[in-house]
């Protein structure tokens, strides 16, 4: 593929980077990234990936825009309240960059649809707000050998890690979802809007660096930050031989329904 003159100008600040260059930009234009959740994390990730010229971007979200989303979900505007988030986001991304093809999935991921949705994509960004979805995304990506970025935020805190086949997965660190209600969500405990932006852009940068194949991804590392004191920390993690999905004796060999089996999984872990 050859970049047009307009593309050379649009992406000139990428092309100037030795680690991106024209070849890296062409890889971005041919890449396919899926963003699950078009909210606090997905909104900044979607904008940066669209601006970067990622050729195909999938958006999965069954929700509509709520007024209380606008404090941090920067891809949605006041006039978008009550619209489908994936439609609101697609419109902004296409306006930002006509090179980008946006594919929308106005639904929630579940054990029956996720494998087919992620199949066509090179990299997946988890921007969901709930643990059943986070574990389902991890399991689907591990079982299908798809790289993905995990992200979680709460109050002033964020944490993120990247999985590629062979590296530690989310379940290596957190064995099973917490019981419903045990860990507060952003809607219960609050979130500083900019924290979502900080984390979502880290996830976007992981996707971009995975595609261009440069640098060191956040694999086998958990990046943790606290924006109240603005402190960053990295915890080295490694594959857990007792991990229920990628360990030596996996107990999860097919996708499990996200909501229902939390207690089962916990009792198995704690047994």
């Amino acid at each position: 593929m050859n970049l047009t003159e307009e593309q050379i100008e649009r992406y000139s600040r990428h092309i100037l980077l030795k680690d991106v260059g024209g070849a890296g930009q062409e890889k971005l234009l041919q890449a396919k990234v899926l963003i699950i959740g078009t909210g606090g994390l997905g909104a900044p990730a979607a904008l940066y990936l669209a601006a970067a010229g990622v050729g195909t971007i999938g958006l999965v979200d069954g929700d509509t825009v709520d007024l209380s989303n606008l404090q941090r979900q920067v891809i949605h505007f006041t006039a978008d309240v009550n619209r489908l988030k994936v439609e609101s986001a697609r419109e902004k991304m296409e306006a930002l960059n006509p090179d980008v093809r946006v594919v929308t999935y106005p639904e929630r991921v579940n054990k029956d649809n996720i494998a087919a949705i992620i199949r066509d994509y090179d990299f997946i960004i988890d921007g969901t707000d709930n643990f059943p979805a986070k574990f389902l995304i991890n399991d689907a990506c591990v079982l299908s050998g798809k790289p993905f970025s995990h992200g979680g935020i709460l109050r002033f805190d964020g944490q993120t890690m990247t999985y590629v086949p062979g590296s530690a997965c989310y379940r290596c660190v957190f064995n099973a979802p917490p019981p419903k209600g045990a860990v507060p969500t952003c809607s219960e405990a609050g979130i500083l809007g900019a924290v979502a932006g900080m984390l979502g852009t880290v996830q976007a940068a992981e996707a971009l660096r995975y595609i261009i194949g440069k640098g060191r991804l956040l694999t086998n590392r958990l990046l943790i930050f606290n924006a109240l004191d603005m402190e960053y920390r990295q915890v080295n993690i490694r594959r857990n031989p007792e991990c229920p999905i990628c360990g030596e004796h996996p107990t999860i060999t097919e996708l499990v329904e996200a909501e229902q089996p939390i207690c089962d999984l916990r009792s198995r872990y704690h047994a």
């Binding site: 959740g37 078009t38 909210g39 606090g40 994390l41 997905g42 979200d61 929700d63 709520d66 209380s68 989303n69 988890d126 921007g127 969901t128 707000d129 709930n130 643990f131 986070k134 992200g151 979680g152 935020i153 709460l154 805190d157 964020g158 944490q159 290596c172 660190v173 957190f174 064995n175 917490p178 045990a182 860990v183 969500t185 952003c186 809607s187 979130i191 979502a196 958990l222 943790i224 920390r233 915890v235 080295n236 993690i237 490694r238 857990n240 007792e242 872990y269 704690h270």
Partner: protein, 71 residues
């Protein structure tokens, strides 16, 4: 004894303590919701009661963090 907890060296007034006792000493809320990495290895929940910390150990308390999408 001196431990490195969440990357910070600190002296704890404990002797022969289990990980569970350390979690209580550090006043960690909902210790059953914390994933503990002990010298680079993730502990099973049951091991919190059996693994004893010793001088120089490195311990990470990792918390669940959701968030992202909904309002």
């Amino acid at each position: 004894m001196k431990l490195v907890i969440n990357g910070q060296e600190e002296t704890v007034e404990l002797q022969e303590a289990t990980v569970a006792e350390l979690l209580r000493y550090k006043k960690v809320e909902m210790p059953e919701m914390v994933s503990v990495e002990y010298n680079g290895r993730f502990l099973r929940q049951a091991e919190h009661e059996t693994v004893r910390v010793k001088d120089g150990d490195r311990i990470e308390f990792l918390y669940f963090m959701g968030g992202g999408m909904a309002g």
